[in-house]
Assembly symmetry: C2
Homo-oligomer: 251 residues x 2
């Protein structure tokens, strides 16, 4: 895969890559999809290069789709990372040898790379982590237990999470992270997990109801011991409207 | 300038540029610094390339500094633009000829470029638009009267303004856009100009005071016919604190 890209490197933007921070919600944990590559002991974000005939946003969708198998998810560019030495010495001669790549062919890879960061919110239950290279391990890892990452991927992940937390104040969230029917406590738990703090139950109920994106269903959650909580779904039309206009009340 | 970059193009990241949207506030107008280049009838944002030995953020500071002569201003990366054909046919043979650049040398320039957008807020009164190329015209233009721009620069400008409007809800603004001493009505006018809407005087006063970044001075505005309004300045320490932490109250 990598080798064939290098052999056809004129078909890719030089010195430019894409890295995706893919978030999923499961078991009250915010998980991140990470990859363990054969030539490194450390983990990395799923990433890829930019075909010369693809918009950068399309290339990001391709990376996401290759890794998760899902389409039409929430994907957003959040920042571009371009410190001078960010990938210096990442592919040393030993790594290239391990990948069966000649130093000559490896030159395209070892030059300075700037990378464009995207983050995605996906429905954990629909995703099958999808290794595209032999020997690769692809895993959902709790964002609080992320192991050491290659390059500046830790910085990229942190920035993605910061952005997600800020954007929680600007737009509705949950559509790609929760099952179709959910309870208010489940939605609150999602917010609490992303923000990593407890929220007041009444305040949350009031704020989330005021946004006007929830539909109360004529159904109660089953398998619940005590008082069964109501089930809700998102009013997708209103949700998309608010997503477009933003939910901040502003000045 | 451009020619010497092309002659030493191995010193620059290939296919990657920077464009700066530089905002200034003057005469109750939000102005944008634009350039009219000799080889085009249309105007453009000030931009530049990325020296191989500079971080992208440093390269952006360099562009801003070359164009405005100021340092230490508010500068923020907001988005990267990478549609496939965004710079297709921009430098045609005629344009290259006009710039005294051979087709061979021009190849580096005519390939696909992705550009990283930064926006800056600068003190209009301190800036002398600074043309670095002969025959260039550099001008402050009211953002409502921006003429036709090259490439996707209109899209970049619009996105910068959208970002600025959203960030007005996330952080304090004004430090780089107003004189050291100002009145509340002047600050309100800045917000109204950026948001392009009238704000309620009392609400604005309450909200802006609650942020806790203003120092009321023991001075009144002179040259004012009726009741002279109080002068204020920013408490820079608190301002920077809020800038760092964000002013959204959040969930």
């Amino acid at each position: 895969m990598l080798k064939s890209i290098l052999e056809n490197n004129e078909n890719y933007q030089p010195g430019l890559s894409i890295d995706c921070v893919i978030f999923g919600f499961h078991d009250n944990q915010l998980k991140v999809l990470l990859i363990n590559t054969p030539h490194s002991e450390r983990w990395s974000l799923p990433g890829g290069f930019i075909p010369i005939d693809q918009d950068i946003d399309t290339a990001a969708v391709t990376v996401l789709n290759e890794r998760t198998g899902v389409e039409g998810v929430f994907l957003r560019q959040f920042s571009t990372f371009g410190k001078i030495k960010r990938n210096e010495n990442h592919f040393d001669n030993e790594a290239l040898k391990h990948l069966d790549i000649s130093p000559e062919l490896g030159k395209w890879l070892t030059r300075r790379f700037v990378t464009i960061g995207y983050y995605a919110l996906v429905d954990f239950s629909k995703i099958l982590p999808n290794p595209i290279n032999r020997n690769e391990i692809v895993e959902w890892i709790d964002h609080k237990e992320v192991p050491e990452l290659i390059l500046d991927h830790r910085e990229i992940l942190d920035k993605a999470l910061d952005t997600l937390r800020v954007e929680l104040n600007l737009m509705p969230i949950g559509y790609n992270l929760l099952p179709e029917k959910f309870t208010i406590p489940e939605l609150q738990k999602l917010y609490e997990t992303i923000l990593d703090k407890k929220l007041d139950r009444r305040n949350f109920l009031r704020k989330i109801t005021n946004i006007g994106i929830l539909t109360k269903l004529d159904e109660k959650k089953s398998n619940v011991a005590h008082k069964a909580p109501n089930l809700y779904s998102f009013d997708k039309e209103k949700y998309d409207e608010v997503l477009k206009d933003g939910l901040y009340q502003g000045w």
